[in-house]
């Protein structure tokens, strides 16, 4: 934060441009049903960290379906875009988590090797895991989900006042510029969502989610400024508070694995990097949020 050559706007632009190279490989099971002599090569795509897999589902499906041309009419084959799902290390990937969050959470936690690029993901065209995953939605549903998340973020930051006052075309502009990779157009509107209301110099509460393996994400009410002690709350404060609160809630639930509340036992990862724990969360919320205005924080236990 004291770097003279880069200002905060450069940071948001850097984040906007971050991508992950992904190698999509067809599952063995689906590979065996290909009825051409030539088997599909892996599909390599460079995807934006802050987008969602369903944004690319048509592209992925189109690529693989060419290998099943003769089979498409065969209704017993169940080959349909609705049955497409993605897997990493036996984990079905949730479509509504940003791509970067899935990468940071799973590759840091699960793979023993230190090099995770390109990220190898298995594509399944059949045997959809109904009990574990909701089917990938169409474009409109992803847009609706994105808008819903934005509204939730604004509800926390500004009691929903700013997004509520926006025109529908502003909402559309946010989503479209996100899809079309238009940073300036996006931030023209998004900066309104980063402003302050009610004579405060900060957000009422910080929109954030903390992801850990094997449990639902944590989301709590957390204010960025402690007026009683005239103190800006830090990333460390936020993570510590969330872990303590969750442990307290779980304390009375039976059979749960005890949550480790020692922040130092975790890597705290946002956008693939570990921000210093003393960073004020107000700053992080303004400059390090995803385009959905949430801070998506992955906690990965450090290997001993």
């Amino acid at each position: 934060m004291g770097n003279a050559s880069m200002d905060d706007g450069d940071i948001t632009r850097e984040l906007w441009q971050s991508r992950i190279p992904i190698c999509f490989i067809l599952s063995d099971d689906d590979m065996s049903k290909v009825n051409r002599s030539e088997l599909p090569e892996p599909l390599y795509l460079m995807l934006s960290r802050h987008l969602y897999f369903p944004c690319f589902i048509e592209k992925i499906f189109r690529y693989y379906s060419t290998y099943y041309k003769e089979n498409l009419a065969d209704t017993t084959n169940h080959l349909s875009i609705h049955n497409l799902w993605l897997e990493y290390e036996s984990i079905p990937l949730k479509w509504h988590y940003p791509i970067g969050v899935l990468y940071d959470l799973y590759t840091s936690s699960l793979t023993s090797s230190t090099c995770h690029l390109p990220w190898q993901i298995i594509v399944h065209l059949s045997q959809f895991p109904e009990n574990e995953l909701i089917r990938f939605p169409d474009r409109e549903s992803i847009e609706a989900y994105y808008m819903s998340t934005l509204k939730e973020a604004d509800a926390l930051k500004h009691k929903g006042q700013i997004i509520g006052d926006m025109q529908k075309r502003d909402h559309k502009q946010l989503w479209n510029s996100l899809l079309q990779d238009k940073y300036e157009t996006f931030w023209n509107i998004n900066m309104k969502l980063m402003s302050y209301t009610d004579n405060l110099l900060y957000f009422r509460y910080i929109p954030y989610r903390i992801y850990l393996l094997d449990r639902p994400y944590l989301q709590k009410l957390f204010a960025p400024y402690d007026s009683e002690h005239d103190r800006w709350m830090t990333l460390n404060d936020l993570v510590q508070y969330s872990l303590n609160h969750e442990l307290h809630c779980e304390h009375f639930a039976n059979g749960k694995k005890m949550l480790n509340t020692n922040v130092n036992d975790y890597q705290v990862i946002i956008h693939g990097v570990q921000p210093p724990l003393h960073t004020p969360v107000q700053w992080l919320s303004e400059y390090f949020s995803y385009p959905d205005n949430f801070l998506h924080i992955c906690l990965v236990e450090k290997r001993t």
Partner: protein
């Protein structure tokens, strides 16, 4: 779906709303009363109809924190005896504004969006709030 119970007894719901444990190790400025399910007991919430959805006789419900929004949706589909078409379109809204992802826990929705001790969810058969 025996896990979802109607809580007919006002006073037991109020017991859940009692101040409970507000200690805060990191000095975070939490404000406002919350529907305090932090002692592991159930989250109490009201279900209100919107967008032309059928009105439920039983409005007050209670669920353990870890139950998801999807769980409530599935329950409502059966409880309201929706036909196949209606089942496609059952939405649950918070703050009359947004629909959380179905794997969101009622505990976290409650922690963030209950107001004056009560969490209100609106259900609709149309996208009432987008």
């Amino acid at each position: 779906m025996s896990a979802v119970e109607g809580d007919e007894n006002e006073s037991s719901a109020n017991a859940l709303n009692s101040a409970g444990n507000n200690e805060d190790n990191t000095g975070s400025a939490r404000s406002g009363a919350t529907n305090d399910s932090e002692d592991g007991s159930k989250v109490v919430f009201l279900l209100k109809a919107a967008g032309g959805a059928p009105i439920l006789k039983k409005k007050k419900w209670a669920l353990p924190r870890a139950r998801t929004m999807g769980h409530i949706v599935e329950f409502l589909k059966k409880y309201m005896k929706l036909d196949a078409q209606q089942q496609q379109q059952l939405f649950l809204y918070v703050n009359q504004s947004f629909a959380p992802a179905l794997d969101t826990t009622i505990g976290s929705v409650n922690d963030c969006f209950s107001s004056e001790g009560t969490l209100v969810l609106h259900y609709a058969l149309t996208q009432a709030w987008g």
